[in-house]
Structure formats: structure tokens, C-alpha cells
């Protein structure tokens, strides 16, 4: 078991790490949405709308993750 003080600092550090990671993850999600949008213009197929919807859902998921990081941790 970690001493209470060290454990507290570690959790704060961990919270900072999670928030930073989720912010970077949002950037990645935006890049995915943008790339799918651009590629859908180049290659038009019947499943493009589903793929675009999946990329947007993924972006929403990453936003929810940041919300959880800010509220739960």
C-alpha cells in the first residue's frame, strides 16, 4: 500500500495525464472525421454514410471521455 500523501499526489498526476491524453484523443478523432469526409469525396460508395457516422460517434465518445475525466476523476 502507498502512503496516503504519495497516493494523493500520484492520483493528481494520473488525473492530469488522463485529461491530457483525452485532449490528444479528441484531436485524433477530429482528424479521423476530417479524413473520412475527404476520402468520401474521392471514393463514393454506398457505405460511406455509415463510415462517416461511425467516425462522428467516435468523436462523441472521445468528448464523453474528456467529460468523465473532468467530472469523475
Amino acid at each position: 500500500m502507498l502512503p496516503v500523501a504519495i497516493g494523493g499526489y500520484l492520483l493528481i498526476l494520473l488525473k492530469g495525464f488522463f485529461i491530457l491524453a483525452s485532449l490528444l484523443y479528441i484531436i485524433l478523432s477530429v482528424v479521423i472525421v476530417r479524413q473520412v469526409f475527404l476520402m468520401s469525396k474521392n471514393v463514393q460508395d454506398m457505405h460511406n454514410s455509415i463510415i462517416f457516422a461511425l467516425s462522428v460517434i467516435h468523436l462523441i465518445g472521445s468528448l464523453v471521455l474528456l467529460l468523465f475525466c473532468l467530472s469523475l476523476l
Partner: protein, 234 residues
């Protein structure tokens, strides 16, 4: 330069003024030749699927690409063979099972339940992103054969894309390689197209049935040459 043997019987010399006289029935003969080449292409791809999530789509109804001309018929759309996806699918499945493994072997007990919950969500999102990025690399990485040209759209990763094309009459050489157990078993390989266009070489790795693709390109090139002879180059 010696004239093509195919043209010799079609042109006769008028003895009065020594000018070549082209018989009126030349066009139908060439048209039938052109039609025969196209029919052989259709015969080659007969029975191939039109399902848009397959590796080889023959004459797709709901597929187009950005630089496509009006009335330009797409003969085939080729993606990497499905067996090339086995690796990332397996890794994605193992990654998605990892949090359940942690419930059996609890090694992160020092974390509070909230941290564990957020970590699990983060892990599942990462797993989804990994699988999705690999799927996009497969889905948008297409090689298209139309009646006019070949188009290669490469989607290497999220940040690198490449578009290259070559007209059929610029194609100089088509080769394919099929190496290893997997490629021999599932009949896929790398198709290499040498061109006289700006893009000197187009490589299509993981192309399903490369032998058939080479034959399709050969027939289409013959058709294009026939069109050039007819003076009906589009």
C-alpha cells in the same frame, strides 16, 4: 516501318491514281473486334460480386470516384484481399478482451473505481480507433480499372493519401507476383503496372486474382489500341 498485318487486307490501291482506298466495311470489322475485347473482359469478371464491401467488385452500380468522367464505365474496383485483414482483426479482438482479463487477474487494484472505469472506456476507444483506422486503410485503398484508365487511390494511414492514374494507352507493361504460402493459398499478390504517364509505376499490393487483373488490362489495352487505329480515340 512495316504496317500491321491486320490493316493490309483492308486497304486497296486504286490503280488510276495510286491512292489508298479504304473499303466502307472497315468500321464494322473493327467495331466487332473492339466489342470482342470488351466481351472477353465481361466474361472474365462474370460471376464476380457487386457487393461493395468485397475485395473485388465487378462493374459496381453504386461506386464512383472524384475524378470520374461522365459515362466512364468502371470495369472493376479492387481492394486488398480479405486475408490481409486477419492480423489487425485478431489484434483488435485481443485488445477488446483485455479489460475482461483484468477482472480475472486484478493488477490495478490500487486505482479507485472511477479511475478504472475511465481507463476501461479509454481502452475501448483506443481499440475502436485502431480497428477503424485499419478498416479505413483497407476500404479507401482502392485500385480502379475503368474503360479509359487505371486509378490508384492509396490511403496509407490517417495523414497520408496518394492519388495516381494512368490512361490505358500509356500502360507499357503489367506484371504480377504471388509469393509465399498465404498468397498462393488465397490467390492474391502484387500487381505492378509500368506506365509512360507521370506516375511511372503503379503497385497494387494484396490484389485478389492478379492473373485475371492482368488479363483484363491486356484486353482493355487491345481495345484501346483498336480505338486508336479506328481514329475514334476518346
Amino acid at each position: 516501318m512495316p504496317r500491321s498485318k491486320n490493316l493490309d487486307p483492308l486497304i486497296s490501291i486504286n490503280p488510276a491514281n495510286s491512292t489508298p482506298v479504304i473499303p466502307v466495311n472497315v468500321a464494322p470489322v473493327n467495331k466487332s473486334q473492339e466489342g470482342a475485347n470488351r466481351q472477353r473482359v465481361y466474361d472474365l469478371i462474370a460471376g464476380k460480386t457487386k457487393f461493395s464491401l468485397s475485395a473485388f467488385i465487378a462493374r459496381p452500380k453504386f461506386f464512383s470516384f472524384g475524378a470520374q468522367n461522365q459515362e466512364e464505365e468502371i470495369i472493376a474496383v479492387v481492394r486488398r484481399h480479405w486475408s490481409t485483414n486477419v492480423g489487425w482483426i485478431t489484434i483488435s479482438l485481443l485488445m477488446s478482451l483485455f479489460p475482461f482479463l483484468l477482472t480475472i487477474i486484478p493488477i490495478f487494484t490500487f486505482l479507485t473505481p472511477n479511475y478504472r472505469f475511465v481507463s476501461t472506456i479509454f481502452w475501448f476507444l483506443l481499440t475502436f480507433a485502431f480497428a477503424f483506422e485499419n478498416f479505413l486503410s483497407w476500404y479507401f485503398n482502392v485500385f480502379i480499372i475503368t474503360e479509359e484508365r487505371v486509378v490508384d487511390i492509396d490511403f496509407f494511414n490517417l495523414l497520408d493519401t496518394k492519388f495516381s492514374e494512368a490512361e490505358l494507352n500509356k500502360i507499357q507493361d503489367v506484371t504480377y507476383t504471388r509469393t509465399g504460402i498465404s498468397q498462393t493459398m488465397f490467390n492474391y499478390g502484387t500487381l505492378s503496372i509500368q506506365t509512360a504517364a507521370e506516375t511511372k509505376e503503379i503497385n497494387v499490393p494484396g490484389a485478389p486474382n492478379p492473373e485475371m487483373l492482368a488479363k483484363i488490362l491486356q484486353e482493355l489495352r487491345l481495345e484501346e489500341q483498336q480505338e486508336e487505329l479506328d481514329g475514334r480515340l476518346k
